[in-house]
Amino acid sequence: MHDLTTDQSVRILDSLPCYVTLMDRRLRVLWSNDAAHRDFGDPLGKTCYELFRVRGDKCSECLVEQSFQDGAIHNKEMTLVTAEGDRIDVLVYSSPVRGDNGEIASVVETAVNISSVKEMQKQLILLGQTVAGLAHGLKNIMMGLDGGIYVVNRGLQDKNQAEVREGWEMVLFNFDKISKIVKDILYCSKDREPNIQEVQPNSVIREVSDLFRETARGYGITLQLDLDEEVTHAEMDPDGLHSVITNLVANAIDACKMDLWKDEHLIEIRSRKGADGSVTIEVADNGTGIDRDTKDQIFEDFFSSKGDKGTGLGLMVTQKIMKEHGGSITFRSRPGQGTTFTAKFPHRET
């Protein structure tokens, strides 16, 4: 091992992948390394809280002061604001630097960017909430299965075919719900390449609307189509397209079910061919609409406004599929009037 020259020492400090600053007792920044200089600007004449734009005054539990006082190392998590205005989460350590006489002359701080850890933390919290949400959703489904089984048994006992059928439908309905949740979870849990094939979007739309027509009618909702015959075929993942339309129609039905103020509800599925060869699919309903608070959160992972009746997976999967296609999903909504979701698939060369 060889001794470092001052020059070399400074270069090493400059190259450290974290912010290094040296402060005096009055919290003035005596020196900062390249990384700090680059992201927070010239420290000349500034205090540390000014440089890092923490706030107008010093931090409530000042690490520098603590290290000056007890000569020990301290740490905490903080949010700093860069010269460009970006907020970054950092883990800060302060450590006393002693002069030749053994007294603490200054305090050095290192701040490591932990934004990615913070992001992961957020995801984990979300995951926890999702699991709790799923458990509630499953409780409802269990109740449905319980009920279906009870009604089937009752029908068998009374030799009542109609009742057996009714009970069996309850069982199947709830079984489908479980299958869908499991499929959605699996879909979200891995990266996959879309299985691009030539599909006829209008046929997929007809297929999905046939699937939902009966359910919709049961709630007094009319399901109607407005299909552009120019949309003959497109390059898409057929399962993905099916999921997108299914999720949007299921949401539209929920929005109509929750709306108690209109006597007649209508859901319209539209297809349009763009001049650039893109295909746009819209699902419009005249249900409850989406209020402002919900609008901001609607595409967030696992977000649901439906209490124990939603899992927050539907639009999460929809958004993932649209991304995989290089497309986009947007919506416009007026509370009390209704909502229109628009999925745009860009043109794709065969």
Binding site: M143, G147, Y150, D308
Partner: protein, 118 residues
């Protein structure tokens, strides 16, 4: 004469299940799919007990309860709350019993009998 129970839930399957079970247990039933309808059925059928889902769209379960307890005629009709989310029953000040979904049938029947003084 058999006692009559009003079942209020927005899920037709749940209504079917609970009414089927209560009928098998010897009660007459009537049902409603939201709170507004619930009030109408309440006035028409004059049930002896109500089972109420508190998580119906538009918060109509809570409103149903408020309207019911405001009326002289029905304010003492016992209410059994059936809910998927724990803690939601707090919206109802005096439920005779609270059940979480999925319900325990025997416990529900016990609660029904007790509230009807059987």
């Amino acid at each position: 004469m058999a006692k009559k129970i009003l079942v209020i839930d927005d899920e037709p399957h749940v209504v079917k299940y609970i009414t089927a079970f209560l009928e098998d247990s010897g009660y007459d039933t009537c049902s409603a799919s939201n709170g507004e309808e619930g009030i109408e059925v309440l006035k028409k059928e004059k049930p002896d007990l109500v089972t109420l889902d508190l998580q119906m769209p538009g918060d109509t379960g809570t409103r149903f309860y408020r309207n019911m307890t405001k009326s002289k005629e029905f304010k003492d009709v016992p209410v059994i709350v059936i809910s998927g989310i724990p803690g939601r029953h707090l919206a109802v000040s005096k439920p005779v019993a609270v059940f979480e979904k999925p319900i325990d049938r025997d416990a529900l029947l016990d609660a029904v009998k007790k509230s009807l003084g059987e």
